[in-house]
């Protein structure tokens, strides 16, 4: 019989993640579970996870402006930052997937039918892997805002969707990145579903003049912090060993 060391991930502090039951976002009404989740002690199933990285990324996948014959319409931007864990460690060679609306606020998606224009030179999907410092970089177009039917005269602030795996099932995260100074924040129930104002602020990227490239593209920086480890590993007997 051998021992298995399971080093779990710290529970997120209250207020960071939105409550699933957030009445301001109407679609939660029939989809938010009514019961509280059952707490499961960290085991190997949860602390392991798929380690996707550069092997799933093609050479132009990070540049959403070069995926078609011509240049997409809109403001060219660089979106970059680091993927870290809560202890400040870089998350290396991890897959980062993004998707977004075009400059008109229209997604290339059959269920998006509002009268914003489609752009034949923009798909709005990208992926990259972080480097040894946890650094990632995309080139894309500033997405437009778009209307939705959640409430009277509802508009989503401009945003880019992000999907991350980290190093474990416990760290899996899907989120949205916003842009500084957007006048639509006040009426957006999705951003405002986050109880902690400081956490909401962290989803807003920072305009980054140092990385803005002269006569080419504005830069926005956005660091992503996944859960960190708990202080003490759990020593478990391995009955299979």
């Amino acid at each position: 019989m051998s021992m298995t060391t399971v080093h779990g991930y710290a529970a997120p502090p209250p207020g960071v993640h939105p409550p699933l039951d957030s009445p301001g976002y109407r679609s939660t009404a029939l989809r938010a579970p009514a019961r509280q989740p059952v707490v499961v002690p960290p085991g190997l199933t949860e602390v392991t996870g798929p380690l996707f990285g550069a092997e799933r990324v093609g050479p132009l996948d990070h540049d959403l402006t070069r995926q078609h014959a011509g240049e997409p319409v809109g403001q060219r931007i660089i979106v970059h930052g680091r993927v870290l864990d809560g202890d400040g460690r870089s998350v290396r060679d991890t897959l980062v997937e993004i998707w977004q609306a075009n400059a008109s606020g229209r997604y290339r998606h059959e269920r998006d039918d509002w009268p914003g224009s489609l752009d034949p030179n923009f798909s709005g999907a990208g992926r990259t892997a972080t480097d040894d410092d946890g650094y990632y970089r995309f080139v894309t177009i500033h997405p437009g805002a778009y209307p939705w039917k959640n409430h009277q005269n509802a508009w989503r602030p401009a945003h880019i969707h992000f999907s991350l795996f980290g190093r474990s099932f416990s760290q899996r995260l899907v989120t949205q990145m916003y842009f500084p100074g957007d006048p639509l924040f006040f009426q957006d129930p999705i951003l405002n579903s986050i109880p902690d104002p400081a956490a909401r602020e962290r989803l807003i990227s920072r305009y980054d003049h140092d990385h803005t490239e002269p006569e080419w593209a504005l830069a926005f920086s956005f660091d992503i912090v996944l859960r960190g480890r708990t202080a003490t590993p759990f020593e478990a007997e391995d009955h299979d060993g």
Binding site: G8, P33, G86, W99, H109, R111, V174
Partner: protein, 189 residues
């Protein structure tokens, strides 16, 4: 211990994730042609009993030897499956249906070292879910192992039923009910 850096919050996957997240090989936890492979098929259902056509289901599991291809699993490995990825990803269709092709995982010890019944970790993302929900899938034909499983033993009969996939002609069936009388037991992991 509090995290040193402020964590990034979850936001909904929204209705338009299909332009990036589904992969051509998403359902292939194991490659086509793998000996013994079967399908896990299911639906994602809302609180009104209606299928959810814009959800994304992801699965994660051990190989047939109970091992994970991961630095946190330092145990000696047994038989490994060629092309085994452990991870599956499938969007739901208009009828709320998803499927992944896989194998039954081996035994993985729980946090206290006791053996667990074969299981998959399952995440569900959807428009209207501001954070993923997490559950586990157990196999209906593992009666003895399920009866001894530490997580299942802590649940009522009705709760247990929501985590158990029923055998079918080509594998197993597993529905996720986000809400309602049959609400699936969700987990904080």
């Amino acid at each position: 211990m509090a995290d040193r850096l402020g964590l990034t919050s979850s936001q909904t996957v929204g209705p338009f994730f299909h332009i990036e997240l589904p992969w051509p090989d998403g359902a292939d936890v194991v490659p086509e042609g793998t000996t013994g492979a079967f399908w896990i098929r299911g639906r994602v259902i809302d609180g009104a009993g209606d299928p959810i056509p814009d959800a994304l289901v992801e699965t994660w599991q051990a190989d047939v030897d109970g091992g994970f291809e991961h630095p946190d699993d330092q145990r000696p490995r047994g038989e490994r499956t060629a092309g085994f990825r452990g991870f599956g990803r499938c969007p739901t269709d208009d009828a709320g249906r998803w499927a992944v092709r896989t194998l039954k995982p081996g035994v993985v010890p729980s946090a206290d070292g006791s053996p667990q019944a074969p299981h998959l970790a399952v995440s569900v993302f959807a428009r209207g879910l501001l954070d993923r929900v997490v559950t586990r899938l157990y196999f209906g034909d593992e009666t003895e192992a399920n009866a001894a499983d530490p997580l299942l033993r802590g649940l009522s009969d009705a709760e247990r039923e929501t985590l158990i996939a029923a055998p079918t002609d080509d594998g197993y069936e597993f529905d996720v009910h986000l809400q309602g009388a049959d609400e699936t037991v969700f987990l904080a992991v």
